[in-house]
Symmetry: C2
Subunit: 337 residues, 2 copies
DNA sequence: TTGTATGCGTTATCAT
DNA sequence: ATGATAACGCATACAA
């Protein structure tokens, strides 16, 4: 079995306290003593038991990272950066999936089954303001990607309105006039789709375009499948667009395929732009124009924020704006090779 | 602060033992007592402290899931299924990334910094038999995807040789004769690439093809980038292939783009097939032929195996074969729409 | 059926 | 500078 503090103490002929001091790097330990204890430690291969330490200190060193689905490229990219940032900060990361299940999400938010298991939660919500009501108040929580700041929780997110505006303006600058958006979620009041629709509309108005000729299409899951189906319907509809702003790159990938299956071309007949800058889009044919989010930045800020909140739960909630950037590729006009 | 067992006991006017019994669903508790305790529990909102429980029982309820990079589609798909299966079995899953760093991988294998933190480890190794030597012996370990069974560890994997044979045979059946493979890792002795190269070669020999006209190309990271670069080199080389077997779908996606950037077409000029059946391939243009692995099956078997091993560390190591299937799509011949 | 008491391996408090 | 010891919250052997 694994050696304990007591084993080391006995072996070195000192008290348990001294060993603990050595482990903790305590100042006031004589050199001879420190050496003797160190020998015993390496000799027995002693490693502190994290569970015991955590029972005592109340800190688990664990962070929960909650996403709808980890196999959505944007979330797995984010997970990668979060795990990296957390590891450097001394945390382990547990990943939990809500799977689009609102009640499960609320349950996770309440911290139901894992009270005291995590020091904090990094939450990528598919949630409304209501869902957040009265939840998560019990433990440190940082929201990633939803951006209706109400002063209760730390947020890290891009300016969704501006991002959507940028994407739409780019389509307009490429000469597109009959625009459509895919990704709205009518009936819900999730912040992200609402804000992107707002930005989309703003850009149209700023360009003096006829809003009656534009369509804002719902998409429940931001998946390739949804993008495909919705785009196919748009094309065969009464007012086919010449430019589509998809609220995610995954939607856009489905959209591109739908355009080609309809016998049309991207970008010649329909220009398409997404959001997220997933690697898939760089190698796609045509390569996908998109709004890139700095997941590295988001992850690092989120981990820093949760660490700070764990340190001082009473600090005021921070709102951190992550940068975004337009990346123009073939799907909105660069000639396809 | 959170209520403890003692708080509940005091509140209900019973002993701590009784409360514990009720929580554990112990049989011999009188109904009146159970009801009274239950009331106190809900009244105080009591939730057992997992850390304390785990210190006591020695079980953490935590599984480590170790992959090279979580944002590789195959691994994130696997992660999704692993998390789901583990959740149903009552485990939480921590994801760790080795990032192609051999030493970090070995360190994780030794369980260095997390002895006693995890009940078991699910390991997707980029590791050689040597790396596994003397490591992980200390804690329950299940290997996913490497398949050189030596009786020391539980394995869950497909038959890589057969899978590669199937993919290659499919290319041959489509009339391709100048074949290339991408994904070998010369200088290493990772099981997967070796086995896939073996299957590739076997199929060529079985078809009586001239081995001297085939090329087996290395690729370090199974990434789109590697697939692109390697394919570009193949095309501009002295002996361009008319069919390419990529050891991963990601390599294949890069390969497809490279073919088109060279002014050629898939599948007309070069047919391409991959392995993994990531969703990206279904929507790609052309859609990607591939060998599909049943990640759901792999995840469920792996979780079951680790649970069984945790239960009985001395049980003999199991080797579990996961099914695979050829999926023929446009990239190997179905006319592109 | 239920109460008492001990220990899991730490850290931290109090002495010395 | 170091030793003895008390929690942390829970599960369980033992007692009643």
């Amino acid at each position: 079995m694994a050696a304990t503090l007591r084993d080391v103490a006995t072996y070195a002929g000192v008290s348990i306290r001294t060993v603990s001091n050595v482990m903790a790097g305590y100042k006031h330990v004589s050199e001879t003593m420190r050496a003797r204890v160190q020998d015993a430690i390496t000799e027995l291969g002693y490693r502190p038991n994290p569970v015991a330490r955590r029972l005592r200190t109340g800190k688990t060193g664990l962070l929960a990272f909650v996403v709808p689905e980890i196999d959505v490229p944007y979330f797995s990219k984010l997970a990668r950066d979060v795990i990296q940032a957390a590891t450097q900060t001394g945390f382990h990361v547990m990943t939990d999936q809500t799977g689009h299940d609102r009640s499960r999400q609320r349950e996770l938010l309440r911290g139901a089954d894992r009270m005291m298991l995590f020091d904090g939660v990094l939450f990528c919500p598919l949630a409304t303001a209501e869902d957040l009501q009265g939840a998560g108040c019990t433990q440190p929580l940082v929201l990633l990607g939803e951006h209706t700041f109400d002063g209760r929780f730390d947020h890290v997110a891009i300016d969704n309105v501006q991002a959507a505006n940028d994407a739409t303006s780019h389509l307009i600058a490429q000469g597109r006039r009959r625009l459509a958006a895919i990704g709205a979620q009518p009936g819900e009041d999730f912040a992200t789709p609402l804000q992107r629709t707002e930005g989309f509309t703003k850009a149209l108005i700023a360009a003096g375009l006829d809003l009656s000729r534009t369509q804002v299409c719902p998409a429940a899951h931001y998946s390739r499948e949804d993008g495909y189906r919705t785009t196919a319907a748009l094309i065969s509809g009464p007012n086919p667009p010449d430019g589509i702003f998809c609220y995610s790159d995954l939607l856009a990938m489905g959209a591109i395929r739908a355009v080609f299956d309809a016998g049309l071309n991207v970008p010649e007949d329909i220009a398409i732009i997404g959001v997220d800058n997933i690697e898939e889009g760089q190698f796609a044919r045509p390569s996908l124009s998109t709004i890139s989010l700095d997941t590295r930045f988001i992850a690092e800020k989120a981990v820093a924020a949760i660490a700070a909140r764990i340190e001082d739960p009473s600090r005021p909630a921070q709102q951190i704006l992550a940068p975004h950037a337009l990346i123009a590729r073939e799907s909105t006009g660069k000639a396809e090779t």
